[in-house]
Subunit: 501 residues, 2 copies
């Protein structure tokens, strides 16, 4: 279709619209009026070889002169424009792929090429927030068949960059999440890399939780590494722990996750596609996946875990990944900290073989690392945990962790929050259950993960004997406002800890 | 839950974010940092007794001083702030109703109170675009049961204002749409009001079509009437034809329609709720509904029409409306014009009893007006059309139409577009089919409804005998750019008109 270009000069207003591409134009702008752009809601914006589709927000005079336009920060960076550059605007036909999204919403199955066209358009920044939300909504729950999950996964792998390591075995691990404090990754990577395996770990930021591995690592070292920089780290140390979004391995996925966060939705199909596409894109061959099960974990029953296991295995097989799936105990948080910095402190205690290291985090890390060692045939079957323990106790994992941090940009100790407040038990007895979800909510209300030092420091586990007025946990926060907010929620809740005699 | 207020001074930047409420704040704003607002993505903004939830967009210094914030135009108007006013910010707990939206996406049925809480939050401006899109997506196609459509309709009626007319019978009409040029409403209102019935007609703007009745009326008179003004018009003339959005009868519905437009989705359940809630809110008691059926109309088969009829009758009955449903021919456009001004010209030709008035528009108008007269027992059964024709031919409908326009703010003749281009037949023969959808697309690409004079002027109907190189239709546009754009689409399409010997 013919395109009619028009030129506007860009002025930076520095408006951060949370990743949605917006172009700000004057309502009475001559170029817009003469070409009828004001009749449109979205327009194709081009700078040299780069282009994207932006939603038009009109501004009154004052902010912009006639002939000027501005771009949201995400569009500004994506188009790589500089102050005073000229951009061209063109008409943009209705997105073909949006008809596929509509078909999905109306209950029709999508083909591989349907998913390819959707993911490609998302990757190119052509979906608005509203359109992304419709796609996410169409893929929720049981709405994606196993075949569709495979198609989506393949489409996501194809849309991003893909790393070649020129090694026979490249290992990886992932936890499907939902368990606060479950921060085994930095420990596992250190053990496995110390064993000589290649483990180029890319992690996510939190979607609906108080911290993701990327958030936790960020308090100790740089995680926004380019693909090139990440490769250098892995070549030097066998491993890395970086943010997946920065290396652009599954860029469409990052946009989808942002919308899932706004809706507080964790969609199984999207999750499987997200996880396995990232593994493929990272060049992995052997992957250990952890599914914690508990009434307040993301996966609530053995049945659901088995179902998820079946799908993960099938999708992994379809795309050529060797996967080993562990179903683990998700009845309570792992470690003591919940929130980026507090979890980092737990990680460091285990890595450093400190006497007060949380034992559950230690054991879970050895379990996962052991499974990887076995899957990669680095040890005999059944000897993985033992081998992992040996490496950790020897100090080689510690050494490896700090050399990875050093290679990523230098290590720093986790920060301490400005304000803390202890919450006491109202009962005497034994802790019977701990509500992962509501503890996570308190940590989030206290500012995690945005405020890295915010979160919860947990003093009890299931089975702990506690007296009245003994502290259950301590809330950490960076301002009195958020601390009070978290506390007012805490006070409104009953039985986050069930304590019985 | 306790709220922690903080005060910022508002500065108007005049940014129109297409109805989404946005608050612009400096990243380093003292108030935001001390209270941790920057950890949030959305915040409750209050001015006196008015409040709304806005999404936070951060701006770099320059645009705003420390202690200042700005609001998108929609939020500015909603909160009724003035330059330099002080607004307070507070934490806003996660929307309870969003968990209902998630439940719907996961396939669970919703209760009446679920719909009430969702619609109330939408009405209060608490849903972001992403959240609105998820709700719309969850209600698409067969996903709403008949009971749910009833609940949704009731919730929408309750959320808006509701007019009392203190009359036993208040009539109304609606067409479920999808047929270009089908602009019978102004004619029907004029006839029916001339017959002495009360018909306070509120109409929509186009959702996915080149024009809605509100768009067409707007080229002839004011349609943005307040509820009070609308009442005055009806008291004086028995009728009115105003924009439903302005009288705030179903405000949640207008927000939902904006999102449907961005997704190019027409959802049956939402449509039924939207239509019938507006009728109830407008105080109507007797309503005639028109379902045009055609392979390229919105409703494509008699079966689908019967299904829709069944649902409309059931929902109408449940909420206490007397409805009469007509299933009509939707195989081709009605009248000659497609687009606001071109349709207005057709309407005026019929109203004025012009010799060249399009006969199909005339007959369809008499059919609908006749059905209303019969439903309201203004004439004997079977005599409605005859009675309607008498009123039209007498000139009383014309007189009524102009007195309504006068009361709404004065009549003006429809404008003429700057550019036109005729499209010629490539074949000789008889017109067998006309593609409503692709003709609508051309009219939209030519700028309709945003450019009121833009659209299509149709010269043939099904059955017309045409020679090679005779004109099929004329495109009207306000700029060469859009005209070329519409033409390039036209050239890429085959058989919008099927012509056979």
């Amino acid at each position: 279709m013919t395109k009619y270009h028009n030129i506007l000069k860009v002025k930076r207003l520095g408006i951060n619209t949370r990743q949605e591409h917006i172009i700000f134009m004057r309502e009475d702008c001559g170029v817009c009026k003469s070409e009828g752009f004001s009749a449109l809601s979205r327009v194709l914006v081009t700078n040299g070889s780069k282009s994207l589709v932006a939603t038009i927000n009109s501004v009154r005079d004052g902010l912009l002169k006639d002939g000027e336009a501005s771009l949201s920060e995400s569009a500004w960076h994506e188009l790589k424009v500089k102050e005073g550059d000229f951009i061209s605007l063109s008409y943009f036909p209705p997105l073909e792929s949006l008809s596929k999204v509509r078909a999905k919403l109306f209950g029709n199955p999508l083909s591989k090429s349907d998913f390819q066209s959707i993911i490609l358009d998302i990757y190119r920044g052509r979906f608005s927030n509203i359109q992304l939300a419709a796609f996410v909504s169409g893929c929720v729950g049981e709405r994606l068949s196993l075949n569709e999950i495979i198609f989506l996964t393949e489409a996501m792998v194809e849309a991003g960059e893909r790393i070649k390591w020129y090694k026979e075995i490249v290992v990886d691990k992932h936890c499907v999440g939902g368990l606060p404090g479950n921060r085994v990754t930095p420990i596992v990577v250190s053990i496995v890399a110390a064993a000589g395996l290649t483990i180029p770990k890319t992690s996510s930021r939190a979607i609906t939780s108080p911290s993701g591995t990327a958030d936790t690592m960020e308090v100790m070292t740089a995680i926004n590494l380019s693909l090139q920089k990440m490769k250098a780290v892995v070549e030097k140390t066998n491993g890395c722990i970086v943010w997946g979004g920065a290396v652009n391995l599954s860029p469409a996925d990052d946009l989808i996750i942002r919308v899932e966060r706004a809706l507080d939705i964790d969609s199984e199909g999207q999750m499987i596609a997200s996880v396995l596409s990232k593994k493929m894109a990272a060049g992995s061959t052997h992957v250990v996946l952890d599914i914690p099960v508990g009434t307040t974990a993301k996966v609530r029953s053995q049945k659901a875990a088995q179902e998820m296991k079946r799908k993960l295995e099938a999708v992994g097989h379809a795309i050529g990944l060797k996967v080993k799936i562990l179903i683990t105990d998700g009845s309570q948080p792992i470690g003591r900290g919940i929130g980026p910095a507090l979890e980092a402190k737990d990680v460091l205690a285990v890595i450093r073989n400190s006497a007060d290291a949380p034992n559950d985090l230690l054991e879970k890390s050895l379990l996962i690392a052991g499974a990887i060692l076995e899957l990669a045939k680095c040890c005999e079957p059944g000897r993985g945990i033992e081998e992992a323990k040996k490496i950790l106790l020897s100090g080689k994992a510690e050494e490896k962790f700090f050399s990875i941090c050093e290679a990523q940009g230098g290590f720093r100790e986790p920060p301490q929050a400005k304000f803390t407040h202890e919450v006491y038990s109202e009962y005497e007895g034994i802790v019977k259950t701990i509500d992962n979800r509501r503890l996570s909510m308190i940590a989030k209300l206290a500012g995690a993960p945005h405020d890295a030092a915010a979160g919860i420091e947990l003093f009890v586990k299931i089975g702990t004997k506690i007296s009245k007025k003994e502290p259950l946990y301590r809330i950490h926060a960076e301002s009195k406002g958020v601390l009070e907010y978290a506390l007012s929620y805490e006070r409104s809740q009953k039985d986050i800890f069930r304590i019985e005699e």
